[in-house]
Symmetry: D2
Subunit: 279 residues, 4 copies
């Protein structure tokens, strides 16, 4: 049986729309934001920074999957409220993680794209529920997931009727303690060759080191990724989580500047900067 995720004669490339951001289309898709939603002011400052760079999709965790149950678990409902205000005021689209059907129900009206994190890539019951919805799903690769398992996880969503799946490479687990994970960019090329699904890259979680985010973003675009999702924070050193990998706004502007000529070179340019949102 041919998987729905696989490329066919008739379907070479799907485009998934997250608000005004087309992922898998002719332009590079950019998403950015902090690891966790901490306050309205933090998100509003971030939103303004994104808008100034032509980025129309903001990320940030409201439900945080943390290794320890005693670590900050996200703002939950208060975070949803912040996201609703940000959307109202800026028109940005929101991508954020859900970890259960309950989250799905709570956040259905707020999130424009449901992220499934690497820990839940094979949480098949969650994937089936997402398959019954018609909203985009950003599926992150598991830390030890093969490409075959990754594609089959997407198939759990697709086979339930939801075609709006974006794949995201975010690093696999390996042996070197110097980096958080190993960014597997060949997998991006492979996924683009095998499937019709859009594939984006998260260079922040993949490397865990601020200094590696820019070069790896350039490489991700060069290898053929459809987009990037990047951690940025108004004051990276004050981030409640993942402080070591968050970019400053200046770093993000630099990232956009460095990625721009690569994007042009591979024929997937940045969206027109003259983005204007009426509010």
């Amino acid at each position: 049986m041919q998987l729905l995720a696989l490329k066919t004669e008739h379907l070479a490339a799907s485009t998934v729309h997250v608000g005004a951001t087309a992922v898998g289309g002719p332009e590079l898709a950019l998403m950015a934001g902090p690891c966790a939603v901490e306050s309205f002011e933090q998100m509003r400052r971030t939103a303004d920074a994104l808008i100034s760079l032509g980025i129309r999709c903001i990320r940030g965790g409201v439900y945080k999957p943390r290794t320890s149950p005693y670590s900050f678990q996200g703002l939950g409902e208060a975070g949803l409220e912040i996201f609703r205000a940000i959307k109202r005021e800026t028109g940005l689209a929101v991508v954020s993680e859900v970890m259960s059907v309950t989250h799905l129900e709570q956040a259905a009206d707020t999130f424009d794209c449901f992220q499934v994190g690497s820990r839940n890539m094979q949480n098949f019951e969650l994937l089936k529920e997402l398959g019954k919805m018609r909203k985009p799903v950003l599926l992150k690769r598991g830390l030890a997931a093969t490409i075959e398992e990754f594609i089959n996880a997407a198939e759990y969503v697709l086979s339930e009727g939801n075609p709006h799946v974006i794949l995201c490479e975010r690093g696999i687990r390996s042996f070197d303690p110097l980096t958080r994970n190993v960014l597997d960019l060949a997998s991006v090329a492979l996924l683009k060759q095998m499937t019709h699904l859009p594939v984006i890259v998260d260079p922040s979680h993949a490397t865990g080191k601020r200094s590696l985010v820019l070069p790896c973003s350039r490489a991700a675009v060069a290898v053929g990724a459809d987009g990037l999702i990047v951690e940025v924070h108004p004051e990276p050193e004050k981030s409640v989580s993942d402080a070591a990998q968050a970019l400053s706004f200046d770093d993000l502007a630099q990232l956009v500047a460095e990625v721009e000529p690569i994007a042009a070179a591979v024929g997937k340019p940045l969206p027109q900067a003259e983005y204007s949102f009426e509010f």
Copy 2:
């Protein structure tokens, strides 16, 4: 903050009871059964074989987490019905996997121990729900989970108030295609030294090869595991899943015979064989 899972001056070793099987006590705990529940006859034959070997806990999947959505997903409600009949007729305790809160509710009256599979080791929402119950939880190590992450996953259950957690080493993902996974027995010793939780080993999923299950069972007992959970099937070659690793009843009898002197040598003998259940 000291994790609840860690050994303390006052709590060196916990015992978790799954029906008549004490896991973490002075005797070795044995659990066995097929990968998936396929039919009443399959389970009844398996139950009889277990009873004849003094094993009082049967395993088998009713909800199957499969890589592909098109693979057999388990019998669901019909499987629960089979388990209830088996319990009624034989008095065996049942350990079986749940993958969502819905499964938890459906199976609460049937399963004596909820298994969390490696794919869901960091499905924190599920772990929190299990923490609110008072039934044993068999938590399998994720394919790429560090010991620290494994202990913290257990902590999600413990911190909600459920102290009945059994850890299970079942192989980690590595590079050699000859075996399904790499059985990490040093981790068993490490977990026994660090935590007070019972630790058992699944040599079937760890190796994926029938010929390796017996030697690895011996090794698991020698390293200090509190028990074994093993795949066995009336007709291994006809198993709907994991056929390559399932033992026959004769193999299982051989396993018990080989493990017995090792168990005695490490001071954790097999339960008395003169197990008698009135029915």
Copy 3:
């Protein structure tokens, strides 16, 4: 003690010259050739293809480290003879692997750059011998070598007095059978940030798949590599080894064309094409 390999205030970037190819300088360095030297005709055809693309350094194994002792072990002395003829006729520089001090002595007059393969990255006795020479050493990262081990292996050469070391990322071993290895491009950025040594990438061995070589070459240049070393063969499907990953001459021309704008974008352009060698 500060390692000689590490970047200092006074030494930010070293350039290593392999014949006319400067590795680590302002231009991107390209090296290509077959896995193994098979015949003069094969190497001459390859040399001509390289020259037509402005590539001045040819690779090819004369001493082949093969998993099995019964596999083709390289032409040895006959291969050296072929290389000498190629150099005489075309002026190309030769980079090729040595696996022992004996090879070093035999090939000293023929090879312009000694390659140390991933299997011998920690063959310290060989590295020390190479440290006593004044010829460039192309040191490939071991399949399971950390960055720290990789840098220390280079230090074995440097500490003996030979400063001409080029590092080469060629994929690390991981769990997915779909690709031969995992290309770790973040390590390239990290090595460039930590050391002053030139760093190049071998996308052929890293991926083992022809279709991945071009996208990974683009990514390698984008991440900041100083060069590429690529497998190419006049008739890839007839290659005695590594047939699945060798490019055709047309593929190589396509690679150069695709890499060119990326190289320009990151400020490390391809060498001037109007290369002219008098012979």
Copy 4:
């Protein structure tokens, strides 16, 4: 072509003799000693401890493969002299690492068994040279070597005419920083099933933690290993290398005591303790 290493109808199990120690025979083989030879007094005290436990083979590095060129590289010739004195005075056999053909020549009269370390498992030129000798070779598995590669590395020795090869599992590289490596005991069972070569286990390097050496030794014997090679030091905390994993003499006595009943249970008992050597 059938590899010489593989089990055949006519050759199910080879025994390799290292002095008075038969590896692969009916009794368990034990080898122990410090990581590095540091002084005559250190080795003599170690030798006496071994003799008192019935162990007839001493290990210790004279040529040390160290990650950094600036770390202690072994005593070299002075270490050989110490070993010769130890042999003269105690009659123990010596197993020690060689890293090059030069070492081989220097140590040929001193070492009773040449160890090839994990870093050199695929140093094929060294293996071929060892194949031309008639002394036992203890071949350690590479950190990222598959079973197939490991067997083929042994084949490099066997195919040159030297049948005296002992395989040694010593841990593979993985992702968890809590242990130095992952001890892969299933590989021991697999190697015993596939090949006729003796297989021993090094629990010291495999785990890197003193507290794990005893349980892993028990497990290694239970899984079917033909022997153990263990790090022991008169004053572990003063060891110049690998201090965290070296056992004290008391630990080693405890190890022998714990292993003894397991060895009996699997039918490979410890050698008779009434070892008497005339000197």
